[in-house]
């Protein structure tokens, strides 16, 4: 067997475009997914049983069905409701819904780990529930589950390859196209796998740097909460 990468590397522009979309999908849905996930974690810990119930149904439904099926449900669901969103928009919606459910469980564990005395201290100082979540609980909760969050959002970036199935032109879609043109599937997917690997490592670095910025206490003292 001889490996020949020339035809693939000649299509670097296509790979770059795919990579750019993958990065965009990952970046946008990390933010939207974190937002949805955190709100659902709060809903799941709420005193209002209807909120708890809605959040639980959402979380369990997503965590117990395959992502590919979820994408199709969103894709065909939206179009049968008469919406005509672009493949990228549908991909963002589906990825957000998916990662939001996993993030909700991670953040819930983080909030649950906050000592009751912390909530009470916030309450006694006159902070509202929302203010206590925002000022007292959010950052320590995030800090505690930060390794899990990092892994989850890297998984999300990798899972974005599935959106090639609804022809979002991200990295895997680019690979599919290139291998059909070059008849060099093995080399194509090796190259793409290496790009994904590099992207995962880059995300780890970004998350590490972001962690330094949001957890100044850890930066200064070097200790975990």
């Amino acid at each position: 067997m001889t490996l020949d990468f020339t035809a693939i590397l000649a299509r670097w522009q296509m790979l770059l475009d795919g990579l750019a979309l993958t990065v965009q999908l990952a970046a946008v849905t990390t933010l939207t997914g974190f937002l949805i996930g955190t709100l659902c974690a709060i809903a799941r810990r709420s005193d209002v049983s209807a909120l708890r119930w809605v959040a639980s149904v959402y979380i369990e439904a997503i965590r117990n069905t395959p992502f590919l099926v979820q994408i199709f449900v969103v894709y065909f669901g939206l179009s049968s409701l008469g919406f005509s969103f672009s493949a990228v928009t549908v991909a963002i919606i589906a990825l957000t819904i998916n990662v939001g459910a996993y993030t909700a469980e991670i953040m819930r564990a983080g909030f649950d780990a906050i000592h009751p005395g912390q909530w009470e201290a916030g309450e006694c100082l006159g902070l509202s529930r929302t203010q206590t979540y925002w000022h007292v609980a959010l950052r320590p909760a995030m800090e505690r589950v930060y390794p899990s969050l990092t892994s989850q959002f890297i998984l999300l970036m990798l899972a974005s390859s599935v959106t090639s199935q609804i022809s979002a032109e991200e990295l895997t879609a680019a690979a599919n196209f290139i291998q059909s043109e070059t008849y060099r599937p093995f080399e194509t997917y090796i190259v793409v796998a290496l790009i994904y690997l590099a992207l995962s490592l880059a995300m780890r670095v970004v998350f590490w740097a972001f962690g330094l910025a949001v957890f100044p206490r850890r930066r200064r003292l070097g200790t975990n909460l």
Partner: protein, 241 residues
């Protein structure tokens, strides 16, 4: 005029009755020491005053707020009441100064400069101004407890509640915290303190309330610690010596 009044307060946890009808009152500027064996209901009484527990029956009035009333404006009650616990409960991710400015900024909506000023004043009162930029874990237990007191003081409460604030500290650190509380008492702050420090209670308290099995068993001036009239208080005081 009384700042805090409890009238026949009853409270159970499930089927466990804890307060059987507790009554006492604290006048403005007065220091009340709440003493009694562990499990006698001191913390529960204190927590009822700040509405951390809801009474089953009876009345609690704090600075004009009807605490037993379900329609109570919790936020305004909490503006008037400061409470400090045995376990400091400082926010670990915030510096001491950020701990102290958090409530003035987000509850009272003060701007950064005004909040910083108040924070530094309260930290000075507890002798911690130079620790403002440290994190709680960098402080000793006594310093953390003083920081917690400063955090409460920064909200300028009308009454302060202390629940065994020195019980987790060794004698030396206990001394530095008690000194802060004593200075606070001298400045005219109305206070209720649950304490096991009998010498301190004798020195600082205007009124001593001895709780026994969920009831006020004996109450009076600090003299009752020297001359108890009930056998229960006599035994409690002698155990402590």
């Amino acid at each position: 005029m009384s700042v805090v009044v409890l009238k026949n307060v009853k409270k159970s946890f499930g089927s466990l009755p804890v307060l059987h009808g507790v009554s006492f009152a604290v006048a403005k500027g007065e220091v009340l020491a709440l003493i009694g064996a562990s499990g006698s209901g001191k913390s529960t009484a204190l927590r009822c005053i700040d509405r951390l527990e809801i009474v089953d029956s009876g009345e609690i009035e704090v600075c004009g707020h009807m605490v037993h009333d379900p329609g109570l404006d919790l936020r305004r009650l909490r503006l008037d009441v400061g409470i400090v616990f045995q376990s400091y409960n400082l926010f670990p991710h915030l510096t001491i100064k950020e701990n102290v400015t958090l409530a003035p900024r987000s509850v009272k909506k003060l701007d950064r400069r005004a909040a910083d000023e108040i924070a530094m004043q309260s930290l000075q009162k507890v002798g911690l101004a130079e620790k403002a930029d440290n994190y709680p874990e960098q402080l000793s237990g006594g310093q953390q407890q003083r920081a917690a007191i400063a955090r409460s003081l920064a909200m300028e409460p009308k009454v302060m509640l202390f629940d065994e604030v020195t019980s987790a500290l060794d004698p030396k650190l206990t001394g530095e915290v008690l000194k802060v509380i004593e200075a606070l008492a001298a400045s005219g702050m109305t206070m209720i303190m649950v304490t096991h420090e009998m010498g301190f209670a004798r020195r600082v308290a205007d009124q001593v309330v001895f709780m026994h099995e969920g009831l006020v068993h004996e109450a009076g001036s600090a003299d009752i610690l020297t001359n108890p009239s009930t056998p229960e208080l006599r035994e409690f005081v002698s155990n402590d010596l």
